[in-house]
Structure formats: structure tokens, C-alpha cells
């Protein structure tokens, strides 16, 4: 159980890292979207981390200047084009009840401001911790009489992007106590468990090696305040569970399944590591 392999890689890339770090990224840059939405990209580490991180930083602070610029203006942010497509869906009646989201929730701004900041959360009426996707599907099937959306399909990710966008600036604040505690503890355990042929846990990269390079990727702290995220690599919006799955697959192990309790628990835990950072979604990342 050693981290020597990763250190070897980073020492090899040290030359490139120094060049890349100095030339391209500015960790102290400030993020203000559209000259009006102030985004907290660095904050005090939440108490529950018990000193595991000296501070918490949004993934935005690890990206090159060019990538950072794409998020500073709603027009430039390709993730927002996708979110805009969801506005029409929001206003369109669907399902046997003949209702649209707007019929119950009003405009997205009215109905959804503050929502992204507190999810995943314990939903008393359902007796479980839910992600926004689970809550959307519950509304669709039980209240609209419409069909469930595929968890990481484009309908769902466009809608979660829209819902996130109206909370931008608000600090993430997921509850980790009370009925959510059990799931949170489970998520924490998953976070620190090494998996796969490469024997890596989330912490191996995002806690022990953030700011280092793994081959040519500049490792962030793995925060989820920017999700769903427009990834330049995929040129589309990516949901949290989609990213979790990819990360696990890259350890050369068998990932957990999208939408199932392990990833829900992990999402709750990872979100809590970012409590205090602003909601940024849809963010732009590499």
C-alpha cells in the first residue's frame, strides 16, 4: 500500500508540470460570471475533513486560463446552451397528469434557486437520500405520470444543468448529519477505499496528489460543485455519476453502477467535501 508509483510519474512530469503550471494556470484568479455572479472558488476546509485538506479549491482553479475564460461568460459556456434546451422542456406539459414542471414550480429561477446547493439530501417522504436526478424522476413518474429519464441521458443532464445554473454563487451546503449520516459514512468509506488493478482510491489522486500531474492531467481536488460539467474532452455535459464511473474504470477496476446507492453515497460525501464552495454548474473543465 504505497503511493510511490504516482510520485515517480509526477517527478518525470515535473518539468512539464512546472512549465505548464507557470505558463497556463492561475490558481489565484477570481471567478465572476457575466460580471455579476461572484463564485467562491477557494474556501476554508469543512470541519469534517479534520485537516485532510489545508483549504478547499474548485476544479476551476486548476484549469488553464483559456479554459477558465470559457466559464466567465454565459455566452461562451457551451454547457449553458445545453441547459437552455431544458427551459423548453421545463415549460412543456408531459405525462398523464398533463402538467409541466412550470405548472408546479413556476419559473426555474423561482422554483429551483437554492436546490442544487443542498443536494444530495435526505428526503423524508421517501425515506432515502436522493440526488437531484432521483428527485426529478420521482416527480416525473409519480406526479406527472411521465416516463423516467435515463439517469445520464441528455434530457436529464440538460435539466440538471439548468437547475444548477440558477443556484450559481450560492455556497454548497449538503447536510451530513441526522438521517443522512449513514449514507455519508458509507460514501466516506468508499472515498478512501483503494480499488482496481491500479489500486487507487479517490483520495490517492484528489487528496494526496491534487495539483500534481498524472501523466498530462492536472489533478484537482475532485470537487463536484461544478457539475454537471461541460468537459472539453467529451464536448458535452457530464453528470457526476458518469464521472465517478469513468474514474473508477480508469483504476482498471469494475465501477459501481450509475444511479445506485454506492454512487449516491459517494456523491453525498464528495459534495460535503466541497461545502463552502459556490455552485458553479454547469462548469467547463478539461
Amino acid at each position: 500500500m504505497n503511493t510511490a508509483p504516482i510520485r515517480l510519474t509526477t517527478s518525470f512530469s515535473a518539468g512539464l508540470a512546472i512549465l505548464a503550471g507557470a505558463a497556463a494556470a492561475d490558481p489565484d484568479a477570481e471567478l465572476v460570471i457575466n460580471d455579476e455572479i461572484q463564485i467562491i472558488t477557494r474556501a476554508e476546509a469543512p470541519a469534517h475533513l479534520e485537516g485532510a485538506l489545508p483549504e478547499i479549491r474548485s476544479g476551476w482553479t486548476f484549469r488553464t486560463r483559456e479554459t477558465q475564460a470559457l466559464q466567465m461568460d454565459d455566452f461562451e459556456n457551451p454547457g449553458l446552451s445545453a441547459a437552455e434546451m431544458a427551459i423548453e422542456t421545463w415549460e412543456t406539459a408531459e405525462g398523464s397528469a398533463g402538467k409541466s414542471c412550470a405548472d408546479c414550480h413556476g419559473t426555474v429561477e423561482e422554483g429551483m434557486r437554492g436546490v442544487r446547493a443542498v443536494y444530495p439530501k435526505w428526503v423524508e417522504s421517501a425515506g432515502e437520500v436522493r440526488t437531484i436526478e432521483m428527485q426529478i424522476n420521482d416527480c416525473r413518474t409519480n406526479r406527472m405520470g411521465a416516463e423516467e429519464w435515463k439517469y445520464i441521458g441528455s434530457d436529464m443532464v440538460n435539466m440538471t444543468a439548468l437547475i444548477a445554473s440558477v443556484s450559481r454563487g450560492l455556497p454548497m451546503n449538503v447536510a451530513i448529519d441526522g438521517p443522512a449520516r449513514e449514507m455519508w459514512e458509507k460514501g466516506k468509506e468508499i472515498y478512501y477505499t483503494r480499488v482496481g488493478q491500479l489500486d487507487l482510491s479517490c483520495a490517492s489522486c484528489h487528496e494526496e496528489n491534487y495539483d500534481n500531474y498524472i501523466r498530462a492531467d492536472h489533478l484537482s481536488m475532485g470537487m463536484t460543485n461544478g457539475f454537471p460539467t461541460y468537459r472539453l474532452k467529451n464536448t458535452r455535459l457530464i453528470a457526476v455519476h458518469d464521472r465517478f464511473k469513468g474514474c473508477m474504470r480508469d483504476t482498471r477496476g469494475v465501477p459501481f453502477d450509475i444511479g445506485l446507492p454506492e454512487f449516491v453515497a459517494l456523491e453525498l460525501y464528495v459534495a460535503s467535501r466541497g461545502n463552502g464552495l459556490s455552485v458553479e454548474g454547469p462548469a467547463v473543465r478539461n
Partner: protein, 139 residues
Amino acid sequence: MEFTRRGAIAISAGFAAALMLPTRAARAAIDEQIAAFTGGAEVGSGGITLTTPEIAENGNTVPIEVDAPGAEEILVLASNNPTPEVATFRFGPLAGKQKAATRVRLAGTQDVIAIARMGDGSFVQAANEVKVTIGGCGG
């Protein structure tokens, strides 16, 4: 199977170095494109600014800008993409500046080349190397 991490790094370094050189075929394709654009005329330098990042975060979306005051047309090529053409900008009478920005795909580290045909029929060129990294852990 003996597969040390050092071995893996050495192999990937060699591979990456190899990728930096345009193939003979790519060089020929570029020369052909430039000759077609200039009609074989001499290409000077100066009077054209090509702005590109030093290192592209991801080869899928690389922001570039070309600016050549007085140009009628600017051709942009990528020296080591599967095909070199990127875009051709033609500026009309209502262009505020002979300047344009866009986002391009680069298949690997290579030169981005911009050639402008100026109002007086002359040609000028600028080229920048853009480093495009192969990600480590894309997910």
C-alpha cells in the same frame, strides 16, 4: 509480465516525441495547400498575429485568434492534423477589423499556421507551436 512504471514512462515519452514531428505526407499536404492559396508567390512575415495557447488543456477545443490589418483573406492550417485545413476567413467591406477568433481541434502537438492575403496581393504568414497533451486519467 514485467512491466515497470519506468518502462512505461520511457515508452510513452518516446511515442510522444515521435508525435511532435509532422509526417512527410502531412508536410507535403501543407505545402500543397499553401501553394494553392498563394499561387506560388513568396510569403513574408509580419503584419499578421496568430494567438494560440502555449499548452492546450484539451485538443478538442483550442481557442485561436488571427489578426491581419488590411487582409482580404486568412487561411489557417494545422501542420499535423489528419487533414491540414482548419478554416478560411474572408473579410467583407463591413468587417470592423480583419480579425477573427474561433475554437479548433488539434490532434497532437503541432504548428498552427496562418497565411494572409493582403489587399495589395502580397502574402504574410505566422506559425505557433501548440502543445497538446495526452491526458492521464480522462474518465
